[in-house]
């Protein structure tokens, strides 16, 4: 395994562990306030004698605990958003690739439309219409990014359509749904996993960006973007409130990007072409 693959897996494993085991490994409750011990620097000993390894924020909430719990939000939103876009996009891509010219031009025009709106702006419009919140962030992401999956799926479909095994399936009378699910999808899984991995990195960046603007996850839920938003006002006095959550976001994005790169390098050359 390449070093990129190892690093990618290590970061993803650490995030998963933090998200799943947060209750056991976080030193304190992430929302437990201790005003007397507010803005404690990393490793400093507070009034009560507790050492906050990564410091505390203005309300005295433990930064390390909030970062550990923040992994939950990032992963839930990222997997939710990418999962939803993948389901919509792959279905649309298959329709475009296998169901004739009308379906093809309808789907491709739709992808042209959504991809020509800058994503952040469309997300803003959606959130201003529906309100902030985890579900709406997921919906906003899927509303735009399904097009990415649809385009790749369509490109793969064009190749698969010409393969003999596909024509054999059709000639052998296997139903359309079964052909898609049992035969076509497994043959597309490599490139689609690459796309999904890169989209996960993108989703993490977007969620934290929207939370940073105060338009994503509500403030009482610990999230990395929300922490940055709160730390912004203490930038000159409490550097750890700005630098640490940002580092977490960046590492998570690097992890998923590396995983995607590693998967792409492992694919066979024919499939790599499609991702260009």
């Amino acid at each position: 395994m390449s070093s990129k693959g190892v690093i990618g897996f290590a970061i993803l494993a650490a995030m998963l562990a933090a998200a799943l085991l947060a209750r056991w490994i976080a030193p304190t409750d992430p929302n437990e306030q201790d005003i007397l011990n507010g803005l404690a620097a990393p490793f400093s000993r507070g009034e009560t004698g507790n050492v906050a390894i990564l410091g505390t924020d203005r309300l005295g909430q433990d930064v390390l605990s909030r970062i550990i719990y923040g992994a939950r939000v990032s992963l839930i939103v990222a997997f939710g958003a990418v999962g939803l876009s993948a389901v919509i996009g792959i279905a649309a891509g298959c329709v475009a690739g296998f169901m004739g010219r009308v379906a093809q031009s309808l789907v491709l025009t739709a992808t042209d439309i959504v991809l020509s709106i800058p994503f952040v702006l469309l997300a803003l419009a959606l959130i201003s219409a529906l309100g902030a919140g985890i579900v709406n962030v997921i919906v906003a992401f899927a509303m735009v990014r399904w097009a990415q999956f649809a385009r790749i799926t369509y490109a793969l479909a064009l190749e698969i359509r010409e393969r003999e095994w596909f024509q054999a399936c059709r000639a052998g009378g296997i139903g359309f749904g079964r052909t898609m699910l049992v035969h076509v999808l497994p043959n597309m899984s490599g490139p689609l996993l690459v796309v999904a991995s890169l989209e996960l990195a993108y989703a993490i960046l977007m969620e934290s960006g929207l939370s940073f603007l105060g338009l994503g996850v509500p403030p009482e839920v610990p999230s990395w973007g929300g922490m940055l938003q709160e730390g912004r006002n203490e930038m000159e006095t409490a550097w750890w409130l700005t630098t640490l959550p940002g580092t977490a976001i960046m590492l998570a994005a690097i992890g998923f990007n590396f995983l995607g790169d590693w998967l792409r390098d492992r694919l066979d050359p024919g499939l790599q072409q499609v991702l260009r």
């Binding site: 025009t109 739709a110 042209d112 439309i113 959504v114 991809l115 020509s116 709106i117 800058p118 994503f119 952040v120 702006l121 469309l122 803003l124 419009a125 959606l126 959130i127 201003s128 219409a129 529906l130 990195a201 960046l205 934290s208 960006g209 940073f212 603007l213 105060g214 338009l215 973007g225 940055l228 912004r232 930038m235 000159e236 550097w239 700005t242 630098t243 940002g246 976001i249 960046m250 590492l251 994005a253 690097i254 990007n257």
Partner: protein, 305 residues
């Protein structure tokens, strides 16, 4: 060529119409605007009156056509917060956003192409490692966080540059770098791989064997042939720059359309949000169409697909 241009313009019209339809659906989802426009204790009669004044009591398809008609004549709605036509407010802020995005693109190109070339000719050496590290971090760093870090270091600690809401050229430096880093990372990456591919080809060996000097080999034959994928990628950057501007402008309190949109969301000023989305999308589609037509003029193969 003419057929291609017509087809491309037609696609642009379809795209803009599609975006307008999406906005209209969102507008309907946003709920009853009289809840925001009128005070909480307004009478039911006043609400009914305002709804009919706004045309909200007509069938949805009539509202949709009326909306399309208004947008086509440049009426993007009335900003509730600014109490003036939303289009005027957006158009006033638009040049500043385009300036920021343009500067960021220039910054990205000017740093990334030399970096990518250096990395390619010194493959495996420290320059290459550095370029790869910059590209990796640049693609994963959250832009607003980078902005905060730059403010922290150059504004608050060193006090070299104005940070938030400044005026003049100096105030543009940090936002430009912040917005341009992602573009730089992407272009550097593709420049490196494209140069590596071209420099390994037979014709490069031929010109070298004929005794041509290395700078000429590199720029006249190498870079010129490597430029096609780089140019295509540069053309694709505008969308992410306009999107990124939304966040960067908010971090630096830069008075462009992005900050306008974010503040409009806070103020629940939906007409303003919709005006920003429409105007930015139209600008973006226009530029994309132009880029596509230029590419097609330069490369006849594209016209056939």
């Amino acid at each position: 060529m003419l057929a291609y241009i017509v087809r491309r313009l037609l696609l642009m019209v379809i795209v803009v119409a599609g975006v307008m339809s999406i906005i209209f659906v969102l507008q309907k989802l946003a709920g009853d605007p009289t809840l925001i426009l009128l005070p909480v204790d307004a009478s039911a009669e006043a609400r009914v009156l305002l709804r009919s004044q706004l045309g909200l009591d007509r069938p949805v398809w009539q509202q949709y056509l009326a909306f399309l008609g208004r947008v086509a004549t440049g009426d993007l709605g009335h900003s509730w917060k600014f109490n003036q036509p939303a289009a005027a407010v957006v158009l006033e802020a638009l040049p500043r956003t385009l300036l920021l995005a343009g500067l960021a693109l220039l910054f990205g190109i000017a740093t990334a192409i030399p970096l990518g070339i250096l990395a390619a000719i010194h493959r495996g050496r420290w320059v290459d490692t550095l370029a790869t590290a910059i590209a990796t971090i640049g693609q994963a760093i959250p832009v607003y966080w980078l902005g905060l870090l730059l403010i922290m270091v150059f504004g608050a600690r060193l006090r070299w540059l104005p940070t938030i809401g400044g005026e003049g050229v100096a105030a543009l430096i940090l936002p430009t770098i912040t917005l341009g880093v992602l573009t730089m990372a992407r272009i550097a990456r593709i420049t490196r791989s494209s140069m590596l591919e071209v420099m390994g080809q037979d014709f490069i060996r031929t010109v070298r064997a004929k005794g041509m000097g290395e700078p000429n080999v590199l720029f006249k034959h190498g870079l010129r042939n490597a430029m096609v994928p780089i140019a295509v990628l540069i053309g694709l950057q505008l969308g992410s720059l306009l999107g990124g501007a939304v966040i960067v402008e908010t971090v630096f309190s830069y008075p462009g359309v992005g900050r306008l949109a974010v503040n409009a969301v806070y103020a629940r000023d939906f007409p303003m949000v919709q005006a920003v989305v429409l105007v930015v999308t139209v600008v973006f589609s226009l530029v994309n169409t132009l880029v596509d037509i230029i590419c097609a003029a330069l490369n006849p193969q594209i016209r056939l697909t």
